[in-house]
């Protein structure tokens, strides 16, 4: 397939997942902000925006938090901006994505403006975004052939999901945000799944382990990295005997095995460092994928006659 189209699909996958993750994180933290003093709101906002890795606003108020994470269309860090960028990418790859997927992205984009931008409106907004992104993923899954195009979509989704879950976990580490493990699990939609693993009886602190390392829960960091690895393998199955020709596979695989083979004590002792590493690996893998698949090589341009 065309490099330009592959790139669009990769970013549709990333942006849709980013909208989903950001909506989840915002939703669970809004609860805590509700009724907090102005002083507290400022601290929480500052912490949250730092962890999300977005450009910092001029002042830290509830309004600027909602704007930065939910509504601004000017940057792709917000939910609205991500969904807008996903739609724009789909528009460029419209003959490759299925018409159902395009339509779902397009109607979502038209629906972005229909929400009140206050606290209560934002709850509704986050909920609506979770529904829409679930629908978009479902349609991609059921109406597109699971070919190369779909693999790029899936690859982008997996990398972004690993990154988002890592950020979600990082907010637990922040003192100011003070999220309970129950809320953390609810944020990832993992509460019931976690209870069923029986580890809850052992202690809530295992919730972190669950979101980081569970091999079966689809939103855990480990599982997301595994998915990304599988996509990379399917995209370039050419050389399997010795080592890895593919930088992205090396980076993702290295991170995955570091997580997988660390002892619980090591993880517990330096969780923030691991989370940071996950985010870095995702960024580096994304760069490696860009170089390998999307690079146009030397861009040709004609600069008029030779004088």
């Amino acid at each position: 397939m065309l490099s330009r189209i592959a790139e669009s699909l990769f970013w549709i996958g990333r942006y849709v997942e980013r909208a989903d993750g950001t909506a989840r994180i915002l939703d669970v933290h809004l609860e805590r902000l509700n009724g907090a003093s102005a002083q507290e709101q400022e601290t929480v906002t500052r912490e949250l925006l730092t962890i999300m890795g977005v450009p910092q606003p001029e002042e830290y108020t509830l309004g600027s938090l909602l704007n930065t994470l939910a509504y601004t269309r000017a940057s792709t860090h917000s939910v609205a901006g991500s969904l807008g960028a996903a739609r724009e990418n789909a528009r460029r790859a419209r003959e490759t994505v299925s018409s159902s997927l395009w339509e779902a992205l397009n109607t979502t984009w038209y629906g972005l403006g229909q929400h009140r931008r206050d606290m209560v409106g934002t709850y509704r907004f986050c909920h609506w975004v979770l529904e829409r992104t679930a629908m978009i993923r479902g349609l991609a899954d059921s109406t597109m052939s699971h070919d190369e195009a779909w693999l790029f979509l899936e690859l982008g989704r997996s990398l972004e999901r690993a990154d988002m879950t890592a950020r979600m976990l990082a907010t637990r580490e922040s003192e100011a945000l003070g999220l309970s493990w129950v809320n953390m699990l609810r944020c990832a939609g993992a509460y019931e799944s976690f209870l069923r693993t029986q580890r809850a009886t052992v202690g809530e602190e295992h919730a972190g382990e669950f979101l980081l390392l569970d091999r079966l829960f689809p939103r855990s960091v480990l599982r997301a990295l595994q998915d990304a690895e599988e996509c990379l393998m399917a995209l370039d199955p050419s050389y399997q005997r010795v080592g890895f020709m593919d930088d992205a596979r090396r980076i993702v695989g290295e991170m995955r095995s570091t997580l997988e083979y660390s002892t619980p004590d090591q993880l517990a002792a330096s969780l923030p460092i691991f989370l940071h590493q996950v985010q870095l690996s995702c960024a580096r893998a994304s760069e490696a994928i860009t170089n390998k698949y999307f690079s146009r090589g030397q861009e040709l341009s004609w600069v008029g006659e030779v004088s």
Binding site: R94, E95, W102, L235, G297, V303
Partner: protein, 531 residues
């Protein structure tokens, strides 16, 4: 008759245009009976609700056009334009004849110019055309076709005669809206479309792909076809995606292509892949910075040389603009006789060539009653309608024409035919034109039954371009039924490329289900929860 037609008869009295639905005396034309029956059942609320739902669907599906930098839903009116089978047969032959003439003319212009030698047209007609490109002189494109796709604009005058208004053989657009309009109408007015035999339009992408593949360079066994678009900001971008999608081929931008040793490749995730046929939706001027505008970033350097070397087919061919120059248009009847030895089946509109002193003098006296058009304009750009223009505009026009007489033609103001159109809560007559699309694969010219009917939404207006507030109508060509139908032996063979669409053929006369008998029932959970 429905209340919605209450004031229609009066409105018809006011103008002297030919109405497509009603004959003089407000009698319904026969082919419109199913439409009228369906509309009769509807109240204003029904019609408005359906119109809104069609617009919403267009917006959701992204069937839009760019209006002042904004994506707008494609405007489709709920009343279709119906063309009787007899009228269509003439039109179809006329359009196909026109395409054959244009094809022969272009072939001649870019080779021996016998048409000039034989004194049919002056040499200056060709050499002064802004779209005559010397870069493509002296070679016949791979596949031998230049006018793969054409849109021949026709209008119906006050007497009901179809006349050709202009030819479009560069990058004719609008066919995607024909396909989308039909899709929308089958939900918007199902009562009518279900009860009549309207000729289908869905086979267009299949025909186009077949023609493009046929015209590939000859040594290629399984040609790779791509659609070349200027990109997402082009106003026809939707059409490019639709056609590429329905043909199942890649939609590429200039930066996706690279030429090397006179061969064209596209950059893919598996490296570079050879391209054999390019359906070009970029203006010639921007296509190749080596030959045309060197500041173009939309094009592909070297692509024209690749075509000259016969390694790639560009459809439509570069340099076609010389044939849809409006001054060349005035010579079309002569060209038809010269190349085909036939008389034109669909006549031209009477036209003054303003470069001829006598005609210019006459026109200058009557500027306020004529339509004056630039010869290389499209989309209604630069056109001045005398009766509607202010004295200042006419003065400006006079100055421009005198400065460059070669650049202009003049025509009498035509009363375009009207069709009932929803406006201000009821149906009112509005002027329409028609753009039938033809595909030429080198052996045969196929004309899409129907075409794009554009409608001027303002009362009395003759400007139908969507960029200037025009709307559109679904165009229904009636099929012949029973004994009238053409004998099967004359039917053209179906093209050999099959793209699975929603028109999956159901050809078996007897359903296979009848033979199987009882079908297995769906399984249900046993002994579990029940509702």
């Amino acid at each position: 008759m429905s209340d919605l037609f209450a004031a229609y008869a009066e409105a018809l009295e006011r103008g002297d245009a030919w109405d497509e639905m009603f004959a003089p005396g407000f009698t319904l034309r026969q082919d419109y009976r199913p439409v009228q029956r369906a509309l009769d059942e509807l109240s204003l609320d029904d019609v408005t609700a359906r119109a809104d739902s069609m617009a919403r669907t267009f917006l959701d599906r992204g069937v839009t056009f760019d209006y002042a930098g904004e994506e707008r839903a494609w405007p489709l009116d709920i009343v279709p334009r119906v063309i009787p089978a007899d009228d269509w047969e003439v039109l179809e032959r006329g359009v196909a004849q026109r395409v054959r003439v244009l094809e022969a003319f272009l072939d001649d212009v870019y080779s021996t110019m016998s048409v000039v030698r034989d004194g049919v047209v002056p040499r200056s007609l060709i050499t002064t055309s802004a779209h005559f490109h010397r870069a493509v002189h002296g070679f016949r494109p791979a596949g031998g076709v230049r006018v793969h796709v054409s849109g021949i604009d026709v209008v119906r005058d006050a007497e009901g005669t179809f006349r050709v208004l202009e030819d479009n053989v560069r990058v004719p657009s609008g066919v995607s809206y024909v396909l989308e309009n039909r899709r929308a109408m089958s939900k918007g007015l199902p009562e009518a479309i279900g009860s009549v035999n309207v000729r289908p339009v869905e086979e267009y992408p299949r025909r186009l792909l077949a023609a493009l593949r046929t015209s590939a360079p000859s040594e290629i066994e399984d040609p790779v076809v791509v659609v070349l678009t200027p990109g997402v900001y082009n106003s026809a971008y939707f059409e490019h995606t639709l056609l590429a999608g329905m043909m199942g081929v890649e939609l590429v931008e200039g930066r996706d292509l690279v030429t090397r040793a006179n061969k064209v490749y596209m950059r893919t995730t598996d490296g570079e892949r050879r391209v054999d046929v390019i359906y070009k939706r970029i203006d010639d001027d921007f296509l190749d910075p080596l030959h045309f505008r060197s500041d173009s970033v939309l094009g592909v350097p070297g692509i024209v040389n690749a075509a000259r070397a016969g390694n790639v087919t560009i459809a439509n061919a570069v340099g076609n603009g010389v044939a849809d120059d409006k001054l060349v248009y005035t010579y079309m009847p002569d060209l038809t006789r010269y190349y085909l030895g036939e008389d034109p089946i669909v006549p031209n509109v009477d036209t003054f060539r303003l470069e001829e002193p006598q005609a210019r003098e006459e026109v200058m006296d009557r500027l306020d009653e004529l339509v004056v058009k630039p010869v290389d304009g499209s989309g209604g750009k630069g056109l001045v309608i005398g009766p509607d223009a202010s004295p200042a505009e006419l003065e400006e026009l006079r100055r421009k024409v005198l400065a460059e007489p070669r650049g202009w033609i003049a025509q009498p103001v035509l009363q375009l035919s009207t069709v009932p159109t929803l406006a201000g809560g009821r149906f009112a007559p509005r002027h329409v034109d028609l753009r039938p699309f033809a595909i030429n694969d080198g052996h045969d010219v196929w004309v899409l039954p129907g075409g794009l009917t554009r409608v001027a939404l303002k009362e009395g207006s003759l400007i139908v371009n969507s960029s200037q507030g025009g709307g559109s109508k679904d165009t229904w060509v009636m099929a012949r039924t029973g004994a009238e139908a053409r004998p099967a032996a004359h039917r053209e063979p179906e093209p050999q490329v099959h793209v699975v669409g929603d028109d999956w053929p159901e050809e078996q006369s007897q359903s296979p289900l009848d033979e199987i008998g009882l079908l297995p029932e769906q399984q249900q959970q046993q002994g579990g929860a029940s509702c």
